[in-house]
Protein backbone atom coordinates (compact mmCIF):
# COMPACT_ATOMS: atom_id res chain seq x y z
CA UNK A 1 0.00 0.00 0.00
CA UNK A 2 1.39 3.37 -1.02
CA UNK A 3 1.50 5.90 1.83
CA UNK A 4 3.99 8.58 0.71
CA UNK A 5 6.19 9.84 3.57
CA UNK A 6 6.12 13.49 2.43
CA UNK A 7 2.36 13.83 2.96
CA UNK A 8 0.15 14.41 6.00
CA UNK A 9 -3.08 12.47 6.55
CA UNK A 10 -6.49 12.62 8.23
CA UNK A 11 -8.53 9.85 9.82
CA UNK A 12 -11.05 10.38 6.97
CA UNK A 13 -8.45 9.09 4.47
CA UNK A 14 -7.41 12.38 2.96
CA UNK A 15 -3.85 13.39 2.21
CA UNK A 16 -2.41 16.90 2.52
CA UNK A 17 0.68 18.26 0.77
CA UNK A 18 1.90 21.55 2.24
CA UNK A 19 3.78 24.27 0.40
CA UNK A 20 4.05 27.39 2.57
CA UNK A 21 0.49 28.01 3.72
CA UNK A 22 -1.08 26.30 0.71
CA UNK A 23 -2.38 22.77 1.21
CA UNK A 24 -3.18 20.46 -1.70
CA UNK A 25 -5.74 17.84 -0.68
CA UNK A 26 -6.85 14.52 -2.14
CA UNK A 27 -8.01 11.11 -1.02
CA UNK A 28 -5.55 8.34 -0.23
CA UNK A 29 -4.74 5.22 -2.20
CA UNK A 30 -6.55 3.25 0.51
CA UNK A 31 -9.67 5.42 0.14
CA UNK A 32 -9.81 5.13 -3.63
CA UNK A 33 -9.45 1.34 -3.38
CA UNK A 34 -12.37 1.26 -0.98
CA UNK A 35 -14.54 3.54 -3.14
CA UNK A 36 -13.55 2.17 -6.58
CA UNK A 37 -14.98 3.38 -9.89
CA UNK A 38 -15.16 7.11 -9.17
CA UNK A 39 -17.54 8.65 -11.71
CA UNK A 40 -18.08 12.17 -10.39
CA UNK A 41 -16.33 14.71 -8.19
CA UNK A 42 -18.19 17.74 -6.89
CA UNK A 43 -15.49 20.35 -6.35
CA UNK A 44 -15.59 22.93 -3.55
CA UNK A 45 -16.48 26.51 -4.41
CA UNK A 46 -13.42 28.74 -4.88
CA UNK A 47 -13.21 31.43 -2.20
CA UNK A 48 -15.26 29.45 0.27
CA UNK A 49 -14.11 29.84 3.88
CA UNK A 50 -14.33 26.57 5.73
CA UNK A 51 -13.82 25.18 9.19
CA UNK A 52 -11.85 22.04 9.91
CA UNK A 53 -13.90 18.87 9.19
CA UNK A 54 -16.55 20.79 7.25
CA UNK A 55 -17.93 18.75 4.32
CA UNK A 56 -16.95 20.74 1.23
CA UNK A 57 -16.76 18.31 -1.69
CA UNK A 58 -18.24 14.98 -2.77
CA UNK A 59 -16.64 12.00 -4.46
CA UNK A 60 -19.10 9.60 -6.07
CA UNK A 61 -18.59 6.03 -7.16
CA UNK A 62 -21.17 4.07 -9.17
CA UNK A 63 -22.71 2.94 -5.92
CA UNK A 64 -22.31 5.71 -3.34
CA UNK A 65 -21.58 9.37 -2.63
CA UNK A 66 -18.85 10.14 -0.06
CA UNK A 67 -18.23 13.53 1.55
CA UNK A 68 -14.79 15.12 1.44
CA UNK A 69 -13.92 17.27 4.45
CA UNK A 70 -11.68 20.27 4.83
CA UNK A 71 -8.68 18.84 6.72
CA UNK A 72 -7.91 22.28 8.19
CA UNK A 73 -9.65 25.62 8.55
CA UNK A 74 -8.97 28.04 5.70
CA UNK A 75 -10.06 29.28 2.28
CA UNK A 76 -10.52 27.26 -0.90
CA UNK A 77 -8.16 28.49 -3.63
CA UNK A 78 -8.80 26.07 -6.47
CA UNK A 79 -10.55 22.84 -7.43
CA UNK A 80 -8.95 20.34 -9.80
CA UNK A 81 -10.85 21.09 -13.01
CA UNK A 82 -9.34 18.02 -14.72
CA UNK A 83 -11.58 15.86 -12.54
CA UNK A 84 -14.69 17.27 -14.24
CA UNK A 85 -13.69 15.58 -17.48
CA UNK A 86 -11.90 12.61 -15.94
CA UNK A 87 -13.00 11.79 -12.39
CA UNK A 88 -11.27 8.39 -12.65
CA UNK A 89 -7.93 10.24 -12.11
CA UNK A 90 -8.77 9.87 -8.41
CA UNK A 91 -8.58 6.10 -8.92
CA UNK A 92 -5.59 5.97 -11.21
CA UNK A 93 -3.38 8.60 -9.55
CA UNK A 94 -4.85 9.49 -6.14
CA UNK A 95 -1.71 11.16 -4.78
CA UNK A 96 -0.88 12.99 -8.01
CA UNK A 97 -3.17 14.04 -10.87
CA UNK A 98 -6.18 13.02 -8.78
CA UNK A 99 -5.76 15.86 -6.25
CA UNK A 100 -9.11 17.44 -5.43
CA UNK A 101 -8.56 21.00 -4.16
CA UNK A 102 -6.03 23.52 -2.88
CA UNK A 103 -6.66 25.66 0.17
CA UNK A 104 -4.98 28.47 2.06
CA UNK A 105 -4.44 27.27 5.61
CA UNK A 106 -5.63 29.73 8.27
CA UNK A 107 -3.37 28.57 11.09
CA UNK A 108 -0.28 26.52 10.27
CA UNK A 109 -0.11 25.30 13.87
CA UNK A 110 -3.16 23.12 13.07
CA UNK A 111 -0.97 21.04 10.76
CA UNK A 112 0.66 19.47 13.81
CA UNK A 113 -2.59 17.64 14.60
CA UNK A 114 -2.54 15.75 11.25
CA UNK A 115 -1.15 12.22 10.99
CA UNK A 116 2.19 11.44 9.44
CA UNK A 117 2.66 8.47 7.10
CA UNK A 118 3.48 6.06 9.95
CA UNK A 119 0.44 7.04 11.98
CA UNK A 120 -1.79 6.77 8.92
CA UNK A 121 -0.36 3.37 8.00
CA UNK A 122 -1.32 2.02 11.41
CA UNK A 123 -4.70 3.81 11.17
CA UNK A 124 -5.54 1.71 8.10
CA UNK A 125 -4.20 -1.39 9.79
CA UNK A 126 -1.05 -1.58 7.62
Amino acid sequence: MSVPANLKYTADHEWIALEGDVATVGITQHAQEELTDIVFVELPEVGRECEEEEAIAVVESVKAASDIYAPLAGEILEGNADLEADPALVNTDPHGKGWIFKMKVKDLADVEALMDADAYTSHIGG
Binding site: T36, E60, K63
Partner: protein, 361 residues
Protein backbone atom coordinates in the same frame (compact mmCIF):
# COMPACT_ATOMS: atom_id res chain seq x y z
CA UNK B 1 -35.21 -5.39 10.24
CA UNK B 2 -33.08 -3.69 12.89
CA UNK B 3 -34.17 -6.00 15.67
CA UNK B 4 -33.43 -9.07 13.57
CA UNK B 5 -30.17 -10.81 13.17
CA UNK B 6 -28.60 -10.47 9.77
CA UNK B 7 -28.86 -13.68 7.77
CA UNK B 8 -26.17 -15.49 5.82
CA UNK B 9 -26.55 -17.32 2.53
CA UNK B 10 -24.78 -20.68 2.09
CA UNK B 11 -22.24 -18.81 -0.07
CA UNK B 12 -21.20 -16.20 2.50
CA UNK B 13 -17.76 -17.61 3.34
CA UNK B 14 -17.03 -18.11 -0.36
CA UNK B 15 -17.85 -14.44 -1.06
CA UNK B 16 -15.40 -13.38 1.62
CA UNK B 17 -12.78 -15.74 0.23
CA UNK B 18 -13.34 -14.24 -3.24
CA UNK B 19 -12.83 -10.72 -1.85
CA UNK B 20 -16.48 -9.68 -1.69
CA UNK B 21 -17.30 -6.46 0.17
CA UNK B 22 -20.20 -7.52 2.35
CA UNK B 23 -23.14 -5.23 3.16
CA UNK B 24 -26.57 -5.77 4.68
CA UNK B 25 -29.26 -6.08 2.01
CA UNK B 26 -32.92 -6.98 2.73
CA UNK B 27 -31.79 -8.57 5.99
CA UNK B 28 -28.97 -10.57 4.38
CA UNK B 29 -25.21 -10.19 4.45
CA UNK B 30 -24.47 -9.91 0.73
CA UNK B 31 -21.53 -8.90 -1.50
CA UNK B 32 -22.08 -5.41 -2.95
CA UNK B 33 -19.03 -5.84 -5.13
CA UNK B 34 -15.79 -7.85 -5.31
CA UNK B 35 -13.27 -5.75 -7.19
CA UNK B 36 -15.14 -3.09 -9.12
CA UNK B 37 -18.80 -2.41 -9.86
CA UNK B 38 -17.78 -1.23 -13.33
CA UNK B 39 -15.70 -4.33 -14.18
CA UNK B 40 -18.38 -6.67 -12.91
CA UNK B 41 -21.04 -4.86 -14.93
CA UNK B 42 -18.89 -5.00 -18.06
CA UNK B 43 -18.14 -8.71 -17.56
CA UNK B 44 -21.86 -9.47 -17.71
CA UNK B 45 -22.42 -7.31 -20.82
CA UNK B 46 -19.36 -8.69 -22.65
CA UNK B 47 -18.66 -12.17 -21.26
CA UNK B 48 -20.20 -13.83 -18.20
CA UNK B 49 -20.75 -13.02 -14.53
CA UNK B 50 -22.27 -14.88 -11.59
CA UNK B 51 -24.45 -13.56 -8.75
CA UNK B 52 -25.52 -15.16 -5.50
CA UNK B 53 -29.33 -15.18 -5.40
CA UNK B 54 -29.63 -17.57 -2.44
CA UNK B 55 -31.25 -14.84 -0.39
CA UNK B 56 -34.34 -15.05 -2.60
CA UNK B 57 -37.24 -17.15 -1.37
CA UNK B 58 -38.38 -20.52 -2.73
CA UNK B 59 -41.87 -21.88 -2.16
CA UNK B 60 -43.46 -25.08 -3.41
CA UNK B 61 -47.16 -25.29 -4.13
CA UNK B 62 -48.60 -28.76 -4.55
CA UNK B 63 -52.06 -30.28 -4.81
CA UNK B 64 -54.93 -30.76 -7.23
CA UNK B 65 -56.05 -27.43 -8.67
CA UNK B 66 -52.84 -25.57 -7.75
CA UNK B 67 -52.77 -23.72 -11.08
CA UNK B 68 -56.41 -22.67 -10.91
CA UNK B 69 -56.06 -21.36 -7.36
CA UNK B 70 -52.84 -19.49 -8.15
CA UNK B 71 -54.51 -17.94 -11.18
CA UNK B 72 -56.94 -16.21 -8.84
CA UNK B 73 -54.08 -14.83 -6.74
CA UNK B 74 -51.43 -13.73 -9.25
CA UNK B 75 -51.77 -11.18 -12.06
CA UNK B 76 -50.34 -13.08 -15.02
CA UNK B 77 -52.25 -15.91 -16.68
CA UNK B 78 -51.16 -19.25 -15.25
CA UNK B 79 -53.16 -21.02 -17.98
CA UNK B 80 -50.63 -19.73 -20.49
CA UNK B 81 -47.83 -21.39 -18.56
CA UNK B 82 -46.92 -24.76 -20.10
CA UNK B 83 -45.26 -27.52 -18.07
CA UNK B 84 -41.52 -26.88 -18.18
CA UNK B 85 -41.86 -23.10 -18.36
CA UNK B 86 -41.47 -20.14 -16.02
CA UNK B 87 -43.50 -16.93 -15.89
CA UNK B 88 -42.93 -13.44 -14.49
CA UNK B 89 -45.93 -12.28 -12.48
CA UNK B 90 -47.20 -10.09 -9.61
CA UNK B 91 -48.80 -10.65 -6.25
CA UNK B 92 -51.12 -7.67 -5.71
CA UNK B 93 -53.12 -6.35 -2.80
CA UNK B 94 -56.83 -5.52 -3.10
CA UNK B 95 -55.96 -1.99 -4.23
CA UNK B 96 -53.92 -3.39 -7.11
CA UNK B 97 -50.63 -2.38 -5.42
CA UNK B 98 -47.61 -4.62 -5.72
CA UNK B 99 -46.84 -6.90 -2.77
CA UNK B 100 -44.15 -8.65 -4.78
CA UNK B 101 -42.97 -9.49 -8.26
CA UNK B 102 -41.99 -13.12 -8.66
CA UNK B 103 -41.29 -15.93 -11.07
CA UNK B 104 -43.35 -19.09 -10.99
CA UNK B 105 -42.13 -22.38 -12.47
CA UNK B 106 -44.50 -25.13 -13.56
CA UNK B 107 -42.85 -28.51 -13.07
CA UNK B 108 -45.92 -30.59 -13.79
CA UNK B 109 -49.64 -30.71 -13.19
CA UNK B 110 -50.30 -29.36 -9.68
CA UNK B 111 -46.62 -28.66 -9.00
CA UNK B 112 -45.47 -25.03 -8.90
CA UNK B 113 -42.18 -23.57 -7.67
CA UNK B 114 -42.23 -19.87 -6.76
CA UNK B 115 -39.18 -17.64 -6.48
CA UNK B 116 -39.85 -14.43 -4.50
CA UNK B 117 -37.85 -11.43 -3.34
CA UNK B 118 -35.65 -11.86 -0.26
CA UNK B 119 -37.23 -9.04 1.72
CA UNK B 120 -40.74 -10.38 1.04
CA UNK B 121 -40.41 -14.07 1.96
CA UNK B 122 -42.42 -13.89 5.19
CA UNK B 123 -45.02 -11.47 3.87
CA UNK B 124 -45.59 -13.40 0.63
CA UNK B 125 -45.83 -16.68 2.48
CA UNK B 126 -48.38 -15.25 4.92
CA UNK B 127 -50.41 -13.69 2.09
CA UNK B 128 -50.54 -16.92 0.08
CA UNK B 129 -51.39 -18.95 3.18
CA UNK B 130 -54.18 -16.56 4.09
CA UNK B 131 -55.87 -17.32 0.77
CA UNK B 132 -54.89 -20.99 0.52
CA UNK B 133 -57.73 -23.46 -0.02
CA UNK B 134 -58.15 -27.06 1.18
CA UNK B 135 -56.23 -29.71 -0.66
CA UNK B 136 -53.27 -27.43 -1.47
CA UNK B 137 -49.93 -27.49 0.31
CA UNK B 138 -47.61 -24.50 0.35
CA UNK B 139 -44.14 -24.91 1.83
CA UNK B 140 -41.41 -22.33 2.37
CA UNK B 141 -38.15 -24.06 1.41
CA UNK B 142 -36.03 -20.93 1.22
CA UNK B 143 -33.40 -22.12 3.70
CA UNK B 144 -32.88 -25.42 1.88
CA UNK B 145 -31.87 -23.85 -1.44
CA UNK B 146 -28.87 -22.02 -2.78
CA UNK B 147 -29.29 -20.01 -5.96
CA UNK B 148 -27.02 -18.37 -8.49
CA UNK B 149 -27.64 -16.30 -11.61
CA UNK B 150 -25.15 -16.84 -14.42
CA UNK B 151 -25.53 -14.00 -16.90
CA UNK B 152 -23.89 -12.76 -20.07
CA UNK B 153 -23.22 -13.81 -23.66
CA UNK B 154 -20.86 -16.57 -22.49
CA UNK B 155 -23.30 -18.02 -19.93
CA UNK B 156 -24.43 -20.75 -22.32
CA UNK B 157 -20.85 -21.89 -22.88
CA UNK B 158 -20.21 -21.97 -19.11
CA UNK B 159 -23.30 -24.15 -18.68
CA UNK B 160 -22.21 -26.52 -21.43
CA UNK B 161 -18.81 -26.85 -19.78
CA UNK B 162 -20.23 -27.82 -16.37
CA UNK B 163 -23.24 -29.81 -17.57
CA UNK B 164 -21.99 -31.34 -20.85
CA UNK B 165 -24.81 -33.87 -21.04
CA UNK B 166 -27.64 -31.40 -20.45
CA UNK B 167 -29.11 -28.91 -22.82
CA UNK B 168 -29.92 -25.45 -21.50
CA UNK B 169 -33.66 -24.80 -21.94
CA UNK B 170 -34.92 -22.07 -24.27
CA UNK B 171 -35.83 -18.59 -22.94
CA UNK B 172 -38.11 -18.95 -19.86
CA UNK B 173 -37.82 -22.74 -20.12
CA UNK B 174 -36.90 -24.81 -17.08
CA UNK B 175 -35.10 -28.06 -16.37
CA UNK B 176 -34.92 -30.12 -13.18
CA UNK B 177 -32.80 -33.13 -12.32
CA UNK B 178 -31.03 -34.93 -9.49
CA UNK B 179 -27.28 -35.11 -9.29
CA UNK B 180 -24.78 -35.82 -6.48
CA UNK B 181 -27.66 -36.34 -4.06
CA UNK B 182 -29.20 -32.90 -4.70
CA UNK B 183 -31.96 -31.54 -6.89
CA UNK B 184 -30.98 -28.99 -9.53
CA UNK B 185 -33.40 -26.51 -11.08
CA UNK B 186 -32.42 -24.25 -13.93
CA UNK B 187 -34.38 -21.56 -15.75
CA UNK B 188 -33.23 -19.56 -18.77
CA UNK B 189 -34.02 -16.19 -17.25
CA UNK B 190 -32.33 -13.34 -15.44
CA UNK B 191 -32.30 -9.75 -14.25
CA UNK B 192 -29.61 -8.22 -16.44
CA UNK B 193 -30.97 -8.05 -20.00
CA UNK B 194 -28.40 -10.62 -21.08
CA UNK B 195 -28.77 -14.24 -22.05
CA UNK B 196 -28.22 -16.53 -19.08
CA UNK B 197 -29.89 -18.66 -16.47
CA UNK B 198 -30.68 -19.00 -12.80
CA UNK B 199 -29.64 -22.22 -11.11
CA UNK B 200 -30.97 -23.52 -7.81
CA UNK B 201 -29.52 -26.42 -5.88
CA UNK B 202 -29.29 -27.56 -2.27
CA UNK B 203 -27.76 -25.18 0.27
CA UNK B 204 -24.99 -27.77 0.80
CA UNK B 205 -24.03 -27.85 -2.90
CA UNK B 206 -24.30 -24.11 -3.48
CA UNK B 207 -20.74 -22.99 -2.82
CA UNK B 208 -19.29 -25.87 -4.88
CA UNK B 209 -21.27 -24.92 -7.98
CA UNK B 210 -20.75 -21.19 -7.59
CA UNK B 211 -17.02 -21.92 -7.44
CA UNK B 212 -17.28 -24.26 -10.44
CA UNK B 213 -18.76 -21.44 -12.51
CA UNK B 214 -16.09 -19.01 -11.33
CA UNK B 215 -13.45 -21.56 -12.37
CA UNK B 216 -15.22 -21.85 -15.73
CA UNK B 217 -14.70 -18.10 -16.25
CA UNK B 218 -17.75 -16.43 -14.68
CA UNK B 219 -16.77 -13.25 -12.83
CA UNK B 220 -18.26 -13.00 -9.34
CA UNK B 221 -20.59 -9.99 -9.34
CA UNK B 222 -22.17 -8.11 -6.45
CA UNK B 223 -25.43 -6.32 -5.82
CA UNK B 224 -24.01 -3.07 -7.22
CA UNK B 225 -23.57 -4.54 -10.69
CA UNK B 226 -26.92 -6.33 -10.38
CA UNK B 227 -28.60 -2.97 -9.80
CA UNK B 228 -26.87 -1.09 -12.61
CA UNK B 229 -27.46 -3.97 -15.07
CA UNK B 230 -31.17 -4.28 -14.29
CA UNK B 231 -31.73 -0.53 -14.36
CA UNK B 232 -30.11 -0.16 -17.80
CA UNK B 233 -32.80 -2.50 -19.13
CA UNK B 234 -35.54 -0.96 -16.90
CA UNK B 235 -36.33 -4.08 -14.91
CA UNK B 236 -38.14 -2.92 -11.77
CA UNK B 237 -36.87 -3.40 -8.22
CA UNK B 238 -39.59 -4.18 -5.71
CA UNK B 239 -39.59 -1.75 -2.79
CA UNK B 240 -38.17 0.96 -5.07
CA UNK B 241 -39.89 1.00 -8.47
CA UNK B 242 -42.74 -1.20 -7.28
CA UNK B 243 -44.65 -0.67 -4.07
CA UNK B 244 -47.99 -1.47 -2.42
CA UNK B 245 -49.16 2.04 -3.42
CA UNK B 246 -48.44 1.55 -7.15
CA UNK B 247 -49.96 -0.85 -9.64
CA UNK B 248 -48.05 -2.74 -12.36
CA UNK B 249 -50.10 -0.79 -14.91
CA UNK B 250 -48.64 2.48 -13.55
CA UNK B 251 -45.21 0.86 -13.68
CA UNK B 252 -45.70 0.10 -17.39
CA UNK B 253 -45.86 -3.65 -16.74
CA UNK B 254 -49.48 -4.24 -17.74
CA UNK B 255 -48.23 -6.83 -20.24
CA UNK B 256 -47.76 -9.23 -17.30
CA UNK B 257 -51.30 -8.72 -15.99
CA UNK B 258 -54.06 -10.76 -17.62
CA UNK B 259 -57.05 -8.47 -17.17
CA UNK B 260 -59.38 -10.97 -18.86
CA UNK B 261 -59.38 -13.23 -15.79
CA UNK B 262 -60.20 -12.75 -12.12
CA UNK B 263 -57.36 -12.07 -9.67
CA UNK B 264 -56.81 -9.98 -6.55
CA UNK B 265 -56.48 -6.32 -7.54
CA UNK B 266 -57.76 -6.76 -11.09
CA UNK B 267 -60.63 -4.29 -10.87
CA UNK B 268 -58.30 -1.43 -9.94
CA UNK B 269 -55.96 -2.26 -12.81
CA UNK B 270 -58.83 -2.51 -15.25
CA UNK B 271 -60.16 0.86 -14.17
CA UNK B 272 -56.74 2.44 -14.59
CA UNK B 273 -56.44 0.97 -18.07
CA UNK B 274 -59.86 2.29 -19.04
CA UNK B 275 -59.88 5.65 -17.30
CA UNK B 276 -56.20 6.45 -17.27
CA UNK B 277 -54.05 7.19 -14.27
CA UNK B 278 -52.45 10.14 -12.57
CA UNK B 279 -48.83 9.01 -12.60
CA UNK B 280 -46.61 6.65 -14.55
CA UNK B 281 -43.15 5.18 -14.06
CA UNK B 282 -40.83 6.81 -16.58
CA UNK B 283 -37.22 6.43 -17.60
CA UNK B 284 -35.08 9.57 -17.18
CA UNK B 285 -31.63 10.08 -18.65
CA UNK B 286 -29.19 12.91 -18.02
CA UNK B 287 -28.59 15.08 -21.06
CA UNK B 288 -25.13 16.09 -19.85
CA UNK B 289 -22.53 15.15 -17.29
CA UNK B 290 -23.55 15.32 -13.67
CA UNK B 291 -23.51 13.81 -10.23
CA UNK B 292 -24.94 10.28 -10.49
CA UNK B 293 -28.71 10.17 -9.97
CA UNK B 294 -29.79 8.11 -6.96
CA UNK B 295 -33.08 6.97 -5.41
CA UNK B 296 -35.19 9.74 -3.77
CA UNK B 297 -33.53 12.61 -5.64
CA UNK B 298 -36.21 15.13 -6.59
CA UNK B 299 -37.44 15.50 -10.18
CA UNK B 300 -38.33 19.08 -11.17
CA UNK B 301 -39.83 20.85 -14.16
CA UNK B 302 -37.70 23.43 -15.94
CA UNK B 303 -39.76 26.02 -14.03
CA UNK B 304 -38.55 24.63 -10.73
CA UNK B 305 -41.71 22.80 -9.67
CA UNK B 306 -41.14 19.41 -8.04
CA UNK B 307 -43.12 16.74 -9.88
CA UNK B 308 -41.74 13.56 -8.36
CA UNK B 309 -38.65 11.74 -7.20
CA UNK B 310 -36.44 8.98 -8.55
CA UNK B 311 -37.36 5.48 -7.43
CA UNK B 312 -34.05 4.21 -8.86
CA UNK B 313 -30.94 5.90 -10.17
CA UNK B 314 -27.39 5.03 -11.09
CA UNK B 315 -24.46 6.04 -13.24
CA UNK B 316 -24.84 3.68 -16.20
CA UNK B 317 -21.55 1.84 -16.76
CA UNK B 318 -22.57 0.87 -20.32
CA UNK B 319 -23.77 4.30 -21.43
CA UNK B 320 -21.50 6.41 -19.18
CA UNK B 321 -24.51 8.57 -18.33
CA UNK B 322 -26.80 9.07 -15.38
CA UNK B 323 -30.03 7.05 -15.65
CA UNK B 324 -33.03 6.62 -13.38
CA UNK B 325 -36.71 5.86 -13.11
CA UNK B 326 -39.45 7.62 -11.23
CA UNK B 327 -43.19 8.16 -11.10
CA UNK B 328 -44.26 11.40 -12.78
CA UNK B 329 -47.70 12.93 -13.44
CA UNK B 330 -48.80 11.71 -16.89
CA UNK B 331 -48.57 15.16 -18.44
CA UNK B 332 -44.82 15.08 -17.75
CA UNK B 333 -44.41 11.42 -18.67
CA UNK B 334 -44.16 12.02 -22.42
CA UNK B 335 -40.93 10.96 -24.15
CA UNK B 336 -38.71 14.00 -24.60
CA UNK B 337 -40.04 15.97 -21.60
CA UNK B 338 -37.18 17.96 -20.13
CA UNK B 339 -36.68 17.80 -16.38
CA UNK B 340 -34.08 18.66 -13.75
CA UNK B 341 -32.74 16.24 -11.16
CA UNK B 342 -31.88 17.80 -7.82
CA UNK B 343 -28.62 16.55 -6.34
CA UNK B 344 -27.81 18.17 -2.99
CA UNK B 345 -29.43 21.42 -4.16
CA UNK B 346 -27.77 21.46 -7.59
CA UNK B 347 -29.91 20.80 -10.66
CA UNK B 348 -28.73 18.53 -13.46
CA UNK B 349 -30.74 18.43 -16.72
CA UNK B 350 -32.32 15.24 -17.97
CA UNK B 351 -35.19 14.10 -20.12
CA UNK B 352 -37.81 11.40 -20.24
CA UNK B 353 -36.67 8.69 -22.66
CA UNK B 354 -38.02 5.47 -24.09
CA UNK B 355 -37.46 2.29 -22.04
CA UNK B 356 -35.08 0.50 -21.90
CA UNK B 357 -31.96 2.67 -21.71
CA UNK B 358 -29.77 -0.11 -23.02
CA UNK B 359 -30.50 -2.57 -25.77
CA UNK B 360 -28.23 -5.33 -26.97
CA UNK B 361 -27.22 -4.83 -30.63
Amino acid sequence: MSDQEIKSTPLESLHIELGGKMVPFAGWNMPVQYTSNMDEHTAVRDAVGIFDISHMGQFFLRGAGAEEWLNGILANDVNKLAIGEAQYTFMLNEQGGVIDDLIIYRFGDDKIFLVVNASMIDEDFAWLNKHLTDGLTLTNESDAWAGMAVQGPDAVAAYAKLFPTRELPKRNGIDKWDQDGSTFIVCRTGYTGEDGFELFTSAEQGATWFKNFVDAGAKPCGLGARDSLRLEVCYPLNGSDLSPERTPVQAGLGFFCALDKEFIGRDVLKKQKEEGMKERLVAIKYTGKGAPPRPHYGVFTKDGEQIGELSSGVFSPSLKEGIGMGYLPVKFAKIGTEVDIDVRGRKFPGKVVKKPFYKKD
